[in-house]
Homo-oligomer: 217 residues x 2
Amino acid sequence: MTLSEENYLKTIFHLEKEYKDGVPTNAIAHEMHTKASSVTDMIKRLAEKDLMVYKKYQGAKLSDSGRKHAIKIIRKHRLWECFLVDKLNFNWDEVHEVAEQLEHIKSEKLILELDKFLEYPKTDPHGDPIPDQDGHIAVIQKRVLAELQRGEEGICVGVNDSSSAFLQYLDKNNIALGKKIKIEDKEEFDNSLVIQVEGKKMTISGLAANNLYIKKI
Amino acid sequence: MTLSEENYLKTIFHLEKEYKDGVPTNAIAHEMHTKASSVTDMIKRLAEKDLMVYKKYQGAKLSDSGRKHAIKIIRKHRLWECFLVDKLNFNWDEVHEVAEQLEHIKSEKLILELDKFLEYPKTDPHGDPIPDQDGHIAVIQKRVLAELQRGEEGICVGVNDSSSAFLQYLDKNNIALGKKIKIEDKEEFDNSLVIQVEGKKMTISGLAANNLYIKKI
DNA sequence: ATTAAAATTTAGGCAAATCTAAAAATATAT
DNA sequence: ATATATTTTTAGATTTGCCTAAATTTTAAT
């Protein structure tokens, strides 16, 4: 399996959540910063290797084998992110690019031992679940902050947007995984929220509130 | 810099020790399990990027810039080997293949932090020196075991052959870095040696004795 | 000093992964 | 329902890194 093939599998896996019955060629092209024609080429190649099910004009679907491969890559990606943050002093907004490289390293023993070394973490630094060896992915109980009503509170458990811009914005505002957040007020006009984090009040935009995952308490 | 280019630089760097005035095309081809014509192609490409100095039929020579790059890759390779052995329970005969992959990961911070995390190791699990950030490589005081005379003794400080066959042979015979070895007898007929390691006598072949580095005490 | 052998380079091709431009199929809008 | 717009696919090129086979250069041998 080539690096490029692995990246396609991973991307399609993520997009399947949004596009249940076939991921459009264009969606893949956009996500991978490439052209639709290149995507068609690759989909065909992956289909020939039985990693995908391909019917012309019907969008991309992973085969069971393709999905298994995709999950392995995601497992590696997230374990490496843990390593970078827990052991090498990376901040959560710095890990993505490096993990994108590390996820392609091929060695069963490496991942087994890395998992053990990190003491079998359940989630990565962004709160996303780490698939287990058998490819099982735990479902994390969560809802977007924007859904909560005035007076409700919860613990921050993840982000929907892992861009460093958003993560740095959270850092700047003292919001991190594990922090308790209470809704003080909701502004209907622009969906912004007044929240309280560790006793400090602040306002966050509707967009930000839609990218923060909370577990209600 | 592509993966393939990096592998050429690294290989040529290592071969330059043996071929001081130009590494023959064939030597590179042999080492990289490829064909001489492919090597010529690549040498030209590297020369165009000023990573090598190329004159037809004169063999390959690294430029200063090429040598700097090669050393960076070797630094990364050896640091990752330390990581695998010290932190992930790899044996010294299992690390090479994985380190060959890891050495191509691109991130300054990653290597800086890995070095710190490992507490700035001086040598890798085979006793080879780890180049520092500026590309300086310490010279390790050593000689091959085969050179020692009857009655002399030394500490094992490295291996010339890192094949897993040889390393496993050493494991099996209780020879490892740091062990004290004393020459009990030399057999002129086949250059084999009778040595003593931790009080136990054993015979090793001339070939093995030529691949073990010793520091005299 | 020729000639034979070995090493190196050139020429021409191939596969992976991408691109642009054009063609074909599907979706949308009136 | 038909025309228009959008999406997807095909066709044909390009680049990287490799190959084989043939030509060229260097080295070694007599």
